[in-house]
Amino acid sequence: MSKAEDQNRKTSERTITTVCNCHCGGACPLNVHVKDDKIVRIETDVGAEPQFRACLKGRAYRQRVYAPDRLVYPMKRTGERGKGEFERITWDEALTTIAAEIQRVKESYGPPSILFLGSLGDVTWLHNAALTEELLIKAGGYSGSWGSPSGEGALLAMMTSYGMPAMGNSREDLLNSRLIILWGWNPAVACNFGNTRLYLAKAREAGARIIVVDPRYTDSAAIFADQWISIKPGTDTALLTAMAYVMIAENLHDKSFLATHTMGFEKFQNYVLGNSDGIPKTPAWAEDITGVPKPTISSFAREFAAKKPAALIDGFAAGRSAHGEQFHRATITLAAMTGNIGIQGGSAPGGCSAMGDMLMPVNLGPFVSLRMQGEDNPVDLAAPPRKDAIVAKRMGRLGFYMGVSQSRVHRSLIADAIIKGRQGGYPADYKLLYLVNINYLNQIANTNKIAQALQKLEFIVAQEQFLTPTAKFADIILPNTTFMERNDVTTGGIGPFYGYMNKVIEPVGEARSHYEIVAALAEKLGIDIFHGKAEEDWLKEIVHDCRDIPDYDTFKTEGVHKVTLPVPFICFEQQIKDPAHNPFPTQSGKIEIYSQEIDDLGDPLLPPIPTYIEPWEGRNDPLVQKYPLQLVTTHTKRRAHTQFDNLPILREIEPQAVQMNPADARKRAVDNGDMVKVFNERGAMIIPANVTERIMPGVVDIPQGAWYSPDENGIDRGGCANVLTKDVMSPGGAFCFNTGLVQVEKVKE
């Protein structure tokens, strides 16, 4: 570029700061260059440290906004559900139809037959799925679902162990750790809040030892770790239990911490030593189950007990499996046995987030601010309480959305509920499905069954930016704006920082924001939802309620408000320093290794102490004769769940492929790059093989989020991992995306 051109560019371009927000676990400032209402290029945070630098997804966002497949006007279905045949209609026709269908279904079948599914597609405070829920409540109520696909097992573990959902110290505290254990966690790819990866690199450079426990030699293992312990999927709790055995047998555990701060350790000790079931959980016992050699287990246990402070950070991934809640219960117990909770350089396990946004009421409050001011959902109120709603019943009014009442079905089971309805023991016969920000078909287990279930509904509406595999089943699709096309507010999760997401350009085509859509639909339904307030009035209220942000106008102009913590935030520091005055909100006031609350449920598959339970579809399931490979479904760097899968600029980075060890590939005469069929009873896909030493033999990985694209024979060509996963929930509510058996064979095409 010549200097003259450069000068011309500078004078005609404006830069507007907004914050990338796409459910990746982070939120990163973007300085967006705009010319004539067009985004021309993107820079990221170049301000004061700590900078929050956007990743490749944020940098590709211009391509997303202007993608040729972007939905730019409302459409109605013209072909069979799922085929993707639609025609353009006006907003008025779309909204009139939706309002009429909501009224018709409500009057014919009652409000519980209206099913709502929404997600955190854009994790923001105003334009989120909660607005539609608020509208449906005012329209008479709706059936919701419960369960966090990311970490319901972790939530149960935190609630029963700590009495509250909080975990992890703030990330800069990693610099105080001597040992860091990344257990089933790959932050090099799944970012989990800004700068996590940078702090891990700096901790390693400062001399911390880093151990990764994972079936795969992940990028985190490759770049950060001193040691990789490869483990068979679904057996993590067995390894943790054997480590406890070593600590107890060699008297290495922190008895003073356990006595002061925990309840029920003796019961766990009895289980570990085999006093309760006759099976001592020795390293030899665990070697057979986990595939980790005995000496490795012993030395790992000794090191964890000795090298203090140590941060054991338990990825949600290992908890997204059969009995995944046991994994997080066990990590919490091991961190307590080593006295690493509530101290600098330690970490409170319970998932891989940090310091729990949830400790900061302001982060949780605005997120649901609108509906918190509203009414409760009549459908939730009318149903009896769920007996096992351990998580939900502690969440106050938010508990409705987390499943305090039996009106809600676990998200894994929605397809089954649609198919079977009340006759099958479910709370309602669903007739109408309202989808906001959610590619449900793609992202919940057993995609083929969900596709079948969606055919059964009378009416489906979807708010989307793209014609996702789920949106293809909708009768009406409403085009949503991206965050570039509306004003909003968000939090950077940890840092902490707050972002004003400035509107950068006018909406593309006829796309509308969530707020505009809900306002227009409310008008059609004759409902007053926003009390005459405009979008910005709400944003001002939200910001006003947030004690950390001094002034709305400055915040809006600067785009980013960073809050510097004087010292790292230590989760449960007060509870550990001064337990007499700061009891944990559990029955005993302590960390409950034994949970009376769980015991009271009387479910033998949900024991009151952390327990290794053999998973279904594990290595010892007779099904291995037909399907000998364990499937894990991980994150990839080029998507945030299902988002961004359609962008060529990111697709070309790496193809959607099944990762497998050369030993497994050789047996099947598969070479790297060959097309293979991956299948089980639930479905099949044909995708390339990625043959690599970076995964343990007997395990294959298909990164989740690739768009389901069945061919004429029903074989998925997109590589949607959930074609193969089982629609079942763990006894404690964990989703089981990492439990499943498959076979792989070479195909000639």
Partner: protein, 188 residues
């Protein structure tokens, strides 16, 4: 000449491709066109003793660039003031008229041509325009791991040492690529 070059810390790079995508966004390069910056994954060993690393590379603005004498049209030149190797796309004959000799000559695969008929050579010019605004190249400013830097080679050497090789990268002494590394060592 005050040669400008790159520094790359292989111990920091997580292979996230942010530099690659940021470069494409900044320079308006679409999917399928020749990337000015790219990632080379390195994998060695046998399960469970595995080594993996990444290498983020672009044109390395060699002191003695092989592409310059290879170009039949004299379209590739080296700037006197900072040693940045630039291509004059007016003068470049394009992929169909010439044998893409520059691409053939470069051992680092830096000259790139699009697939379409007549596509001109394009490659990294170290974000020459950004230096006017006191900004580093977009790849450097984008890296979430701070694994990349750029500047006068002498300054980079002073700051980071003078290692010229990394896992997956071979230093060609005759070309003197303007890059220094912190290399990720594979286990012995």
């Amino acid at each position: 000449m005050n040669q400008i070059g790159f520094y790359f810390d292989q111990t920091r790079c997580i292979g996230c491709y942010t530099c690659v995508v940021a470069c494409k966004d900044w320079h308006d390069i679409n999917a399928g066109e020749g990337a000015w910056r790219w990632i080379i994954p390195v994998e060695k060993g046998r399960y469970p003793d595995v080594f993996a690393a990444y290498l983020s590379l672009s044109c390395l603005h060699c002191a003695e660039p092989a592409c310059i004498p290879a170009c039949p049209a004299g379209a590739v030149t080296k700037r006197d003031e900072d040693g940045i190797v630039v291509v004059d796309s007016e003068a470049c004959l394009g992929n169909s008229e010439c044998g893409m000799f520059c691409k053939e000559a470069c051992p680092y695969d830096a000259p790139r041509f699009g697939a379409e008929e007549g596509a001109k050579m394009q490659k990294c010019h170290l974000c020459a325009e950004r230096w006017h605004e006191d900004k580093k190249p977009i790849c450097v400013d984008s890296c979430p791991m701070r694994a990349l830097d750029a500047g006068p080679i002498a300054e980079l050497v002073e700051k980071y040492g003078d290692a010229r090789e990394a896992e997956g990268f071979l230093y060609q002494a005759d070309l003197e690529p303007s890059v220094i590394f912190t290399s990720k060592q594979s286990k012995p």
